[in-house]
Symmetry: C2
Subunit: 231 residues, 2 copies
Amino acid sequence: MKPNHSWQSIQAEIIRRISERIWVPGELVPKETDLAKEFAVSRGTINRAMRELANAGLIDRKRKAGTRVALNPVRKATLDIPVIRLDVENRGVSHKHMVLMQKIVPAPALITGKLGLATGTRMLHLRTLHFAGNQPFLYEKRWVNQTAVPDILDVDFSQISANEWLVQNAPLTTGDISFSATNASKDEAETLGAKIGEALFLIDRSTWIGTMAVTNARLAYAPGFQMHTSL
Amino acid sequence: MKPNHSWQSIQAEIIRRISERIWVPGELVPKETDLAKEFAVSRGTINRAMRELANAGLIDRKRKAGTRVALNPVRKATLDIPVIRLDVENRGVSHKHMVLMQKIVPAPALITGKLGLATGTRMLHLRTLHFAGNQPFLYEKRWVNQTAVPDILDVDFSQISANEWLVQNAPLTTGDISFSATNASKDEAETLGAKIGEALFLIDRSTWIGTMAVTNARLAYAPGFQMHTSL
DNA sequence: ATCAATATTATGTTTAGACATAATAAATTG
DNA sequence: CAATTTATTATGTCTAAACATAATATTGAT
């Protein structure tokens, strides 16, 4: 039998029924076998269409209990976290970076705490200023666990930024990110060409390979920066 | 034949091979039929395991050309955008809100511009202060297109916040979000109990149903707010 | 050699059937 | 009646086979 409906068209129809309240939030929707009959497709196709909507939080599915339209659909925004160089270049300007500091010292407790390392662990500390064209774009303070990526000690960071080296050489890390706002310190203001106290967008990211802590980066963006995405 | 490998265990193994560089970025990986043989599963199971990795940007797949490990894996962070009330309650404190202003006036050009409405369009303007426990949490300035959701004019916003009403009554909107940082204005500082100039985390969100603009919300979070997610 | 037509191929989708699993409902027991 | 066991059921996963589709590779014509 040739399919009159692709899983994508069925998914679109399901979304329509939810958005137009033909299927009411909190209520059961027809089961897969019934929908399969209605659309004249196999159950697998219905399952494919619904599975992604469940992942997206639009519907709640439970074995035996059936499928319900979510009461409070949690909207999910996906943020692409590209390499900083590509992030800059995608804005249509050239990227360059400058290493302001590079040393191996015992990391502060704040950092070892976040990464779950012993206090006083000696780590590679880097401060890098990234430029978008001639404008300071991002001030990066990074701590790297030498034990996790020993090769990093041989890297010439004037050639490749630590950010990019790590993405290429320690891919597929797990991690967590937090976004916040902070008033520019004197150091940050001078480095980014901002005024002291000016509001900066801040990303704090810690990454691990398995359970091995790799790096913590504190990214302070120049004033006016916006991170943008669509729903 | 009973499966020795679930699609998830296969996916984990693929991830391992990529992260441990057994499969090198840029290089072709074995084709589905070969992997199916190796893991003694059907091709469908391999496809299921790989498809999600392709969506996640970890691998690039092309018909006939095969599958390659992505050169610059773009990490994707997914942010849950829940109803503000649930966001607060998930932090373990009670939520309440207070409507500070409610009026129907011609919207400023900044707003109509973002939403693609005619300049001077009369819109419902709301200013709402959300509390986490007794602490101001979020100052919301919202513009609503009455034409898109006429029922909103009858809503008692002391009972339900505009945010929650819209999530429930105008679900499945598309939209875009931008995140930034701003220095607290006098109004914002007084409302949120912050100091003038203090750095505030800002979310600006515009939503549409199809091509019909629904609302623009400017959410200024109290100092210290962090938005958190994992990779 | 260059360009267009054709064949090949890896992934994409779908089906019908089967069994697994989790959650509920029903039946049974104390 | 409450607590436990058993049956039921909707979703979750998997298979083997088939056809569709988009790229690439090859062939053939100019």
